[in-house]
Structure formats: structure tokens, C-alpha cells
């Protein structure tokens, strides 16, 4: 029986994210004591490794931000946060992909609200394996932490007993299942 193990070699070919079995999310400390998580439902990520220089790039449709409250969704789309009306896309483009031991390290440029910053994401790559449908699949999990103020997401509020409503450090996480393009 074949097994699929974690690896750091980048398989060749073009790999596209399966939107159903992938997720793009964020997590941020809320009201000092909690961790609030949300995500986006509309996104696409591609791993292109056709010429020996792998590139990972993707885009997120900001208005697809997904939280469990319509009021909060509206506020996240407002200029206080993501400004989805004027800047409806979050874009990532890698500038370098390498392995460090079992870890996948991806350097790249992240653009939110028309502001581009260099980030480094770390995680794993697993596969390839053959899916039930017969195509080849790999899994990539990556996360990075950014200061949301670097991208102009400045809103906050002071709490009655000290501290701020929303922490500035935000962890961005992608959990991707990618299918090989035939």
C-alpha cells in the first residue's frame, strides 16, 4: 500500500488549488482574551514549477470574507479594515521557495489594500498522491504573521479596563489541496 509522506521537494508541473478542499484564513487576538478566526471563500492559488524555478501565487476576492455575523462582515469590508469596495483583491506572489529540513519556506510579496510588503511563510508540502478522480494532488500548508497596520488596517478601540479590541498581529494561514493540471 502506498503512503504519502511529508516532503519538501517541489513536484514539477502546474498545480491549481481545489476551492472546496482548500481554505484561506486569518486569526487575531480579540478583546485581549480570545482568538477570532475568519476566512475567505473565493480564492485561487497556483504552484507553477515548470522551469525549475517554482513560483507560488494566488489571489483572494476580498468581498468573500467569511465570518459568522453580517454586521462584522460589513465592518471588515469597510475602509476601516479591508476596503473591499476599492481594493477587492489580496494578492500573493512568491519570490523564493526553499526547504529547511522538513519545512517549506516561501518568501513573497503580499498585497493588501494596494500596499505590498515582503513576507515569509512557513509550513509543509505533502504528496503528490493520486486522487479518487485519478488526478495528482499535493497539499501545501503555510502561515505567516503580519502587522495589519502595515497594510492600513488601522481600526481599533480601547477597552474599558485597558488593552485594545483587536490585536495588530494577524496570522494568515492557507491550507491548500492542489490538483495537477493535465
Amino acid at each position: 500500500m502506498a503512503t504519502v509522506t511529508q516532503q519538501t521537494a517541489i513536484p514539477t508541473g502546474i498545480w491549481k488549488s481545489d476551492p472546496v478542499h482548500s481554505s484561506v484564513g486569518f486569526a487575531v487576538k480579540h478583546m485581549v482574551v480570545g482568538t477570532f478566526r475568519g476566512g475567505f471563500t473565493d480564492f485561487g492559488v497556483t504552484l507553477d514549477n515548470t522551469d525549475g524555478e517554482p513560483r507560488l501565487y494566488g489571489a483572494v476576492h476580498v468581498p468573500s470574507v467569511d465570518v459568522r455575523d453580517e454586521t462584522l462582515k460589513g465592518h471588515l469590508l469597510a475602509p476601516d479594515f479591508l476596503d473591499g469596495e476599492r481594493t477587492p483583491e489580496i494578492i500573493f506572489t512568491s519570490t523564493g521557495i526553499r526547504s529547511e529540513g522538513d519545512e517549506l519556506v516561501v518568501d513573497g510579496e503580499l498585497t493588501i489594500k494596494d500596499t505590498t510588503k515582503s513576507v515569509q511563510a512557513r509550513g509543509t508540502i505533502v504528496g503528490p498522491t493520486e486522487s479518487l478522480g485519478g488526478d495528482e494532488r499535493i497539499g501545501i500548508d503555510l502561515s505567516t504573521t503580519v502587522d495589519r497596520r502595515d497594510f492600513g488596517l488601522n481600526w481599533n478601540a480601547k477597552l474599558p479596563k485597558g488593552g485594545l479590541a483587536v490585536e495588530n498581529a494577524v496570522t494568515l494561514t492557507v491550507r491548500l489541496e492542489l490538483a495537477k493540471e493535465e
Binding site: T71, L72, K73, G74, L77, A78, D83, E85, N156, A157
Partner: protein, 188 residues
Amino acid sequence: MRLLGISGSLRRDSHNTRLLRAAAQVVPASAELEVFDGLKEVPPYDEDDDVDPVPAAAQRLRDAIADADAILIATPEYNSSLPGQLKNALDWASRPFPDNALRNKPVAVIGASTGMFGAVWAQAEARKVLGATGARVVDVELPVPHAEAAFAGDRLADAQLHEGLARIVDELIGATRTTTELVELAAA
């Protein structure tokens, strides 16, 4: 303190316009609530028409919002969402983006329907839209179900709903004060 009420219903005997009249009765003496009467005249939003001068009815809406300290919207529900003319009006009010009349304006949404859920989904959708415009949405709701039997004159017959409406009006007025602090913090 000036509150502007906007009823999402155009109907002459609208339950939601009546709900705003009920709200006017629980507004404290230090404030007044005026109900906007020009929603039906607001033309369909068209960027080609959104040039100086904008259509008079759209300008009137923008001015009414700009002149108010806070907005109270009462929405009916069609197909699990807010009615098209109300959404259209919010689209007009949201331009020019982002420094529009709604930006940082405290807004609360209430609603009535003849069904058993009291326009609760329309209220949620309206809060989302208003939030996206940059308004300060007070996170409250007041679903008034079975609207045809909910009023005694221009007052909500049910004591809990009546008290709930009064609380929302208080919170909306309170939000005009905290808004200032939030804006200053965001700018700091």
C-alpha cells in the same frame, strides 16, 4: 441631536414607516427623529448620473444623511433580503467612496414584516451593506413579526418590543458619542 429615519418600504400604509413613528415616540426630549420622505424619488444608481450635479432626489438623500447625527433604518424583507429601493438608496449614499455621507455615521437597523421572523434577514443584510459603506453600525436588531397586529396606534403593542425599540434608540444616540472616540483612535 437629530436622528434621521429611513423606511425601506414605499407603501402608503407601511408597517416600517409606522415603526419609525413608534421610534419617534421613544426618542428622548433632547433629540428629534425626522422620517425621510423622498426614498421613492431616488433614481436607479448609475455611475454615469453620479456627476455634479447629481439627481436632486439623490442629493436630497445625501444631504439628509449628512445633516443627521445618526440614522435609524426600518426595513421590510423581500426574498430574505432588503428591498431594492433601499439598497439603491444606500448605493447612492455610499458615493463618493469612501468619504461619503454615511462614513462613520452611527446607524441602527430595525424591521417589521407580516411573517413570523420580523425581517430579521433583511436587517442582517442591511447591517452588512451599511458596514461596507463605512457607517458605524450599532450591532442590534429588532425583528417585529406579524406587523399587521403589532401596533396600537403608532406604538408597538407588545411591551417587550416597545422597550427593545427604546433601548435601540438609546444605544444609537449613545453611539454618536463613542463614534467620536473611535475615529480619533483610528486616526492616531
